[in-house]
């Protein structure tokens, strides 16, 4: 299958390894991976801030870029949810509504694509360590992604997965919220990270790099010993 | 008394104006053929009860236990009388408030001599009722699904008898046990038609609060204890 990657702006510039891990995994499975270079950002930051006009002007570009894609795979639950759930809302009653819905229909979150579209759960990965999984809110509640990443991780040799008590609790990132209300955002990060630390895990894994930026940001400042990894990075390990 | 209805017309006008544009129904439920939401479906979704009278009773008993409702089966009126006598002695009761009724009237004659009855009739003294040790009432129904006792101002001696004294005793027959709230409302509708009593109350356990550190305390205001004495059908 020809799969088209959607690598959102901050993964592109801050976490290139996440994108490359997805490329390796998909290529190993025999798929041809396409990355249209014209893609930039899904438009979520202005959308979440209330500037929908500005968000739409960015979003129509993305709709255009992915027009001919067969399936679009997102390595971020949040940006994937933007395509899948919020584009139809953003374009409700606008000229590009049909195209927005078409993009929504063919967009997949990475772990959902592997498990529920391709039917693959064992990627032959090996990764030594004790880890806990953070459910990013947009992946969990907008896309309903809960079991797929755990299914994939359960087949990683050497990995011990322990659930934390606050797995489904928001990490406090929330895009611009993290910098507009830093005191609340940081308190939320603290709750999340304390729950991570209680598991005595060496790693916290998520399918959302934006959450990991928040969690990692707090852990590196206050704890230091727990490492953040994107699901794709673990699944690509041999 | 004034017949002032306030801004009735203005508010209704604003409501009608506001409703000119329709709002989408985002989470539709199944509907009956007539297009109206139907109460018949509720049962399929709410906690299951079981079809037989035994299952119904078993659930009521189980919920009563977790609610700390004291449920006792009594073979006949003599046992009910004896049970009340025992409670009165244990609690050193001096007065018991009650109303007249098919199940209660015969009990009045059997009350122990040291326990004086306060019969609630029109225009009782609030202080006298407040000072009673217990309240004895009948009820309309018992609800298996929720472990509730349904009283009305008609069946249970007014609005307050079942909730002011510190110990509420209900005398009922097993045949009054219905499956769920849907059946309870249907039964009340049949019984009262357009002349509902001015109060219907589903009592689910004794008075309780969790307002302090979310720790359960019984008897926040009214009954610290709720006893249901159940006679055969």
């Amino acid at each position: 299958m020809r799969v088209t990657l959607f690598v959102p702006c901050f993964i592109d510039s801050l976490y290139p390894n996440v994108g490359m891990s997805m490329v390796h995994i998909l290529e190993r499975l025999g798929h041809s991976v396409d990355f249209p270079e014209e893609q930039t950002c899904c438009g979520q930051p202005p959308f979440n801030s209330g500037y929908w006009e500005e968000a739409r002007s960015v979003a129509v570009k993305q709709i255009e870029v992915f027009k001919n894609a067969e399936v679009v795979i997102s390595g971020s639950g949040s940006c994937g949810a933007m395509f899948k759930v919020f584009y139809p809302e953003l374009f409700h009653g606008h000229s590009a509504e049909a195209e927005a819905k078409a993009l929504s229909a063919k967009t997949w979150e990475f772990s959902e694509f592997l498990v529920n579209k391709l039917g693959v759960t064992d990627l032959g990965a090996r990764f030594e360590g004790r880890a806990t999984f953070h459910d990013g809110c947009h992946g969990l509640r907008e896309l309903g992604t809960k079991q797929a990443p755990r299914e994939l991780l359960s087949h990683v040799k050497g990995l011990e997965l322990v659930e934390m008590s606050e797995a489904e609790t928001c990490c406090g990132f929330g895009g611009t919220f993290a910098v507009k209300y830093p005191q609340i955002s940081t308190a939320m990060a603290e709750v999340k990270c304390n729950s991570i630390c209680e598991t005595k895990a060496d790693y916290v894994i998520s399918n959302d790099s934006s959450c990991l930026m928040q969690i990692g940001g707090w852990l590196n400042r206050n704890v230091g010993s727990v490492k953040c990894l994107h699901l794709a990075e673990v699944l690509a390990s041999r | 008394m004034n017949q002032n209805r306030g801004d009735r017309e203005a508010i209704l006008g604003r409501v009608r104006e506001a409703l000119r544009e329709e709002a989408p129904l985002k989470h539709p439920a199944e509907r009956s053929a007539g297009g109206e939401p139907t109460t018949a479906h509720f049962r399929e979704w709410l906690p299951p009860v079981g079809a037989s009278i035994d299952e119904r009773f078993a659930l009521f008993a189980k919920l009563s236990e977790s609610l700390r409702t004291e449920l006792h089966l009594c073979a006949d009126m003599a046992e009910v009388s004896a049970f009340i006598k025992k409670l009165a002695e244990e609690g050193n009761w001096k007065t018991i408030a009650l109303h007249t009724g098919e199940l209660i009237s015969p009990l009045i004659l059997e009350l122990p001599p040291q326990l004086s009855p306060l019969l609630l009739q029109s225009g009782y003294d609030k202080d006298e009722l407040e000072a009673c040790d217990a309240g004895l009432t009948e009820c309309d129904l018992l609800v298996a699904q929720t472990g509730s006792v349904c009283v009305t101002s008609k069946s249970a001696g007014g609005r307050v008898l079942s909730v002011l004294p510190p110990h509420h005793i209900v005398v009922a027959r097993k045949s009054q046990l219905v499956t769920d709230l849907t059946e309870a409302y249907a039964s009340l509708a049949t019984k009262y038609r357009d002349a509902y009593p001015s109060m219907i109350s589903f009592i689910t356990g004794p008075s309780r609060t969790g307002d302090i550190e979310r720790i359960l305390v019984l008897g926040a205001h009214g009954p610290k204890r709720l006893t249901v004495l159940l006679l055969p059908s």
């Binding site: 968000a55 509640r141 830093p182 308190a187 709750v191 | 409501v15 101002s153 709230l181 307002d211 979310r214």
Partner: protein
């Protein structure tokens, strides 16, 4: 610069700063609510099909709210036929004045209240006390808050933020009772005070959870029995209810009562669910001689006029969205500065009290969606927070912020420019000069408490290009499968 319009936002930011740093209080609130979560999950699991029950509840509320005029009139007709009185109040003042006049006309001296958020909304107690009436809140939590002189912390659990020793000290100070660390003894202290209040009061005031149209009743849900006594003993009763609280049929409560209990407190059913159809009827032995229902608009019709957010009026005030909200858990109820706290409060307050002054509440959310997930009547709460943000930006864009997003979209619409820009600076630094040194500076805001990720060697697109080139090279050499 500080203007009147800035005040609620400033109060919010400064209270949030304080509460977010109060770790022990945050932990206590979280602990109380995690017990709630366990109870709620356990009870929810006993439903045969919670999702269908929820869709049904949403459908019924949709029907009620979208035909509100018809159902309110039906209620009024049934309720007045049995001797009840209905007063329609446009705003707080009209509702207060009606109740004050009634109390004056009837020679009322003391008033007992059972919990009513509408009472908080219109500041009824202050008005009554100012006119010389003795007013006692009878719900234990509300009573404690009244003694403490502060508003409810949570619209279902009014004093959930207080520890028992704080309540004991309060009672000791205000009532002269001996100190105790037993919640049971504390409850009994309040019980003894309040029993007198019911007997002595000449007027009872309550709210209402549901307005039942087809039988002309109001339904009140409570655990303590205080509302039963408030509606039962005094000779006049006033129920103050928002106009949106309608359900079409009495039988609908067979669904709503268990759902309200399950979502609100994790109980199968709340202790007392009582439906009142007017004053004492002929042949009945007690009950108020007069029963007034005050319908409160107070800008509910403004929310009703917004079809996109109209479903926010489906709310049954169970409090579930507060209980799961990570923002609420970390900043607490008072920080909101509103009658209705938490996610649903953040949605409706801008409609009730003005978007410009209250839009910050919609901004103060990570949009995690836990509220929407838990809502028993299917309100898209966090989507409405987004709608409020959009409406606020459209109504009065913040100059600096609009410029930022215009610059952002200018860049993101131009992939070549974006590539060029990200080649030289990581994304976070791109738009930074626009806001550097201002209150909006995201870098300063972030790095005050968190590390920023280390800049990687090259962007993904550069590495992907290299990867493709290497593969192409291999193919050319015939080295690939």
């Amino acid at each position: 610069m500080s203007t009147i319009a800035d005040l609620p936002r400033q109060q919010f930011q400064s209270d949030a700063n304080r509460t977010a740093n109060d770790a022990p209080r945050r932990a206590a609130v979280r602990r109380a609510l995690s017990n709630y979560q366990t109870a709620r999950d356990r009870t929810g699991a006993t439903f045969t099909d919670w999702k269908s029950a929820r869709a049904s509840a949403a459908t019924i509320k949709h029907e009620a709210v979208n035909h509100l005029d018809r159902y309110l009139e039906e209620f009024e007709q049934k309720f007045t036929a049995r001797g009840g009185k209905v007063f329609w109040a446009t705003d707080s003042k009209q509702a207060r004045d009606y109740i004050l006049n009634l109390a004056k006309e009837k020679g009322v001296r003391s008033i007992v209240k059972s919990k009513a958020m509408t009472g908080e909304e219109i500041h009824l107690n202050e008005a009554l006390i100012k006119e010389g009436y003795a007013v006692v809140e009878s719900d234990l939590g509300e009573y404690i808050q009244q003694l403490k002189g502060e508003p409810p912390y949570h619209f279902v659990f009014p004093c959930m933020h207080l520890r028992r020793d704080e309540i004991s000290d309060l009672f000791h100070r205000e009532l002269g009772t001996a100190k105790t660390d037993s919640p049971e003894e504390l409850t009994m202290i309040a019980r003894n005070v309040l029993r007198r209040a019911y007997v002595d009061a000449d007027m009872g005031i309550s709210g209402g959870n549901f307005i039942v149209a087809d039988t002309g009743m109001i339904s009140i849900t409570e655990n303590e029995g205080n509302a039963r006594l408030t509606v039962g003993l005094p000779k006049i009763h006033v129920a103050l209810i928002g106009i949106e609280k309608v359900v079409p049929c009495l039988a609908d409560l067979a669904l709503f009562l268990p759902m309200l209990a399950t979502a609100g407190t994790g109980q199968h059913l709340t202790g007392y669910n009582s439906m009142y159809g007017g004053p004492r009827q002929p042949g009945e032995i007690d009950g108020p001689e007069e029963f007034h229902v005050v319908f409160l608009d107070n800008h509910r019709t403004r929310l009703l006029a917004d079809p996109e957010q109209r479903d926010a009026l489906h709310c049954i005030r169970c409090g579930a969205c507060l209980n799961v909200c990570p923002i609420f858990k970390n900043i607490g109820g008072h920080t909101y500065g509103t009658t209705y706290q938490g996610p649903i409060g953040s949605v409706i307050t801008p409609h009730f009290r003005g978007l410009e002054d209250w839009k910050h509440l919609s901004g103060a959310s990570s949009l995690c969606g836990a509220c929407t997930e838990t809502c028993p009547v299917g309100i898209d709460i966090h989507h409405h927070l987004l709608h409020n943000r959009r409406n606020a930006a459209a109504q009065k864009p913040a100059a600096g912020e609009q410029l930022l997003w215009k610059a952002f979209s200018f860049l993101m619409k131009r992939p070549a420019l974006y590539r060029l820009a990200t080649k030289f600076a990581p994304l976070g630094g791109l738009l930074h000069p626009l806001v550097e040194g201002t209150a909006m500076d995201p870098v300063a805001s972030w790095t005050a408490t968190r590390e920023f990720p280390a800049a990687p060697q090259g962007s993904f697109r550069e590495r992907f290009r290299a990867h493709k080139a290497a593969k192409a090279e291999l193919v050319k050499k015939g080295g690939v499968q």
